[in-house]
Subunit: 326 residues, 2 copies
C-alpha cells in the first residue's frame, strides 16, 4: 500500500494532452499495489487508473502485461483495459517512469470471503484461462518451481528463527516438489496472484479482475491451486471444503480439469503453498528496521502446506475424484 | 500520506445503510491527510470522501470541524460538505473510529504555484473569513503564540544539530514574539493550514478548500500571514513579491485589512514562520529510525523567518503601505 511517486498536476496535464480521455478533474494517489504508484483519475469522461511503474517491475515485461489486459478485455474478461494515447501506444512516460492509464473498474474486494465469492472467482479464472489461450506473447514464471531453490537458499539460514523445524520442512518439501513437479500438464496464461484483493464484486456478483503484474505462462491447474490456497481457507487457516467445492465446481463448469490435472492437483496445491510461503518468509526475514509496512505472515502458508501434505486426492478438496461430471 | 485503517467492504456497506447516498460501487484508500484515514467512495449518486479519525485528532474537536464545514458550505464557500445520516448526524462510528462522509470536491492542488493561484487563494481566504463570522462554535488555537514555548523547549536541546545558531535564533525570536504579539486585532475562524495541498483548482480557477482540521479561532490577519508564507516563496525559498502582491490585493478586494492589521503584518508573518518552523523542527528531531515518511525540512522556515525579520512594513510585501486603496 503505497504511493511512491507524486505527480505534479501540471505534468499530468501535459501527459494527458496525448490521450483522448477528456478534461482532468481530479487525481488521488491510492493505497493499492505494493509495487507501483497508482492514482485514481476523474476526467470529464469518467474514472481511470494511472499507474507509474516503479523499479521492482521489469520494464521489458510491461508490453506483456498491458497486451494481456487488452487481449483479455477484448475477449470479454472484465479487467482493466489500457487506454492508448493518440499515437496508439498504451505505454508512456510520466515523472521519469513508464506510465499507463487503464479504465477504472467499479467494485469492492471482499474482506470476508463467502461461498458465492469462491464460485465467482472459479468461474472467472476458468474464463480467463480460455480467453488467454490465443494470446500471442509469453512470459516465463520466475516464481515457479525453478525459482524456489534460490528463495529457499535466501531464507534457509534463519528460517528456524521463525518456527522451529521450518528449515527442515522446506528442504524436504522442496526436494519432493522438484522431483515430482509435473512437466506435461496443459499450460497457458495464468494470473498467478488472484487473491481476494485482486477480485472485485458488486454484491455477490464478480465485477472484475485486476493486477496482472505477476501474470505469466505456466500450468493452468497451478493457477487454480494458487486460488484455492488464497480463497478456501478461513481466518484461522482451517480448510473450508464448502468453499473449495464451490470454487472448483464453478471452474469446471467453464473449463474441465483433465484426469492428469486432477491427479496432480494435491501436488500443485503444495507447490502453490510453497511459493507464497517462500516469498513471504524472505520478506519477513528482510524487513528494514522501523518499516511501517508489516509483511504478511509466512506461517499462514506453513499451515496450508501441512494441510495439502495430508491430502490424498482431489476428492479431499470437495469435488468428485474421478471426474465423472465430464 | 497514509491510510492507517483498512475498512472491510462488508462493514462499510453496513455503515452506509444509515446514509442516503446510493449504492456503494467502489472505495479506495487515498494517500491524503497525515492525521486520518481517507477513502474515496464511488456510489450510484456520485463521489464522496469517507474519513476515519485516528488518534491524533481530538474527538471533542470533531463537532467544531464538521459544523464549520457545514456552516461555510451553507455560506457559499466551496469546501467539503458533511453528509448527515438518516438520524441527522454528521458523525458516525466505523471500524471502531469516529467517521464522517463529505461530498467529493473535484480539482487538483497546484505543485507549481503561479500568480493566478495566489490571487485565487487570497480571495477565497477572505471570503472564508467573512463567512465564518457568524459561526457560533469556537476552538482555541493550540499552535498559536501561547503554544510555541513548549515546542521550543522540546526542540531546544538539539536544535543546533540541525543548524548552528538555530537555538539562539529561536530563543531570541520567541522572546520578541511573546512580548509584542498583538492582543486586539480582529479575530474569527481561521483555516490555519491553507497550504497549496489544501486548495483545489480547475485550470487557474479555484474550485475548493479542504482540510479544516487545524481550523480555530485566532487573529484573521495571522491566517493571511500563514498563507503568505505558504504561497509566496519560491522553491529556493526566495520571496516572490509579485505573488504576494496578487495574494494580498485579492484578499483586500473582499476584506480590507485595517491599519492596525497592516502595521502588525510583518510581526504576524514572523509568527507564522515561527509556528511552522517549530512544529517541523520537533517532527524532524523525532523521526523514528527507518521511518518511510520523510518529515518536512524545517530550514525552509528558517529562511522565511529571516526574510520577515528584514521586513520594515507591509509595503515590503508588495502592496501599498498606507492602505490608500480604502
Amino acid at each position: 500500500m503505497a504511493v511512491y511517486t507524486d505527480v505534479a498536476a501540471e505534468d499530468l496535464a501535459d501527459f494527458l494532452i496525448h490521450y483522448d480521455i477528456g478534461e482532468l478533474l481530479s487525481y488521488k494517489g491510492i493505497a493499492e499495489g505494493v509495487e507501483n504508484s497508482n492514482f485514481l483519475l476523474h476526467t470529464s469522461r469518467g474514472s481511470y487508473i494511472l499507474t507509474l511503474y516503479e523499479k521492482r517491475v521489469a520494464k521489458d515485461d510491461l508490453p506483456f502485461f498491458l497486451g494481456l489486459m487488452q487481449h483479455l478485455a477484448a475477449h470479454g474478461i472484465n479487467c482493466p483495459q489500457p487506454v492508448v494515447n493518440r499515437s496508439g501506444e498504451a505505454l508512456g512516460v510520466l515523472a521519469g517512469r513508464p506510465a499507463a492509464i487503464v479504465n477504472f473498474l467499479e467494485g469492492v474486494w471482499p474482506r470476508k470471503v463467502n461461498t458465492a465469492h469462491c464460485a465467482g472467482v472459479g468461474q472467472a479464472l476458468a474464463k480467463m484461462h480460455l480467453a488467454g489461450a490465443d494470446f500471442p506473447m509469453s512470459r516465463a514464471n520466475t516464481l515457479s518451481v525453478s525459482g524456489w531453490r534460490a528463495l529457499y537458499a535466501a531464507a534457509e539460514p534463519r528460517a528456524d528463527s521463525v518456527q522451529t523445524g521450518l528449515c527442515r520442512l522446506l528442504g524436504t518439501e522442496l526436494d519432493y516438489l522438484e522431483n515430482d513437479w509435473p512437466r506435461s500438464l496443459p499450460q497457458g496464461v495464468i494470473h498467478a496472484d488472484l487473491f481476494p484483493d485482486n477480485v472485485f464484486f458488486l454484491g455477490d456478483k464478480l465485477s472484475g479482475l485486476i493486477d496482472f503484474y505477476f501474470a505469466c505462462n505456466d500450468i493452468l491447474a497451478y493457477d487454480v491451486a494458487i486460488c484455492l490456497n488464497a480463497w478456501c481457507f478461513e481466518i484461522d487457516h482451517s480448510f473450508n471444503v464448502t468453499k473449495a467445492r464451490a470454487f472448483l465446481n464453478a471452474y469446471e463448469k467453464v473449463r474441465k480439469l483433465s484426469v492428469a490435472e486432477r491427479d496432480a492437483f494435491p501436488l500443485l496445491a503444495r507447490g502453490a503453498a510453497m511459493r507464497f510461503l517462500l516469498t513471504r518468509l524472505v520478506d519477513w526475514l528482510n524487513v528494514p528496521p522501523g518499516a511501517l509496512v508489516r509483511p504478511k505472515d509466512p506461517l499462514e502458508y506453513v499451515r496450508k502446506l501441512r494441510f495439502h501434505q495430508s491430502v490424498k486426492s482431489i476428492g479431499d478438496y470437495g469435488i468428485e475424484q474421478t471426474g465423472s461430471m465430464a
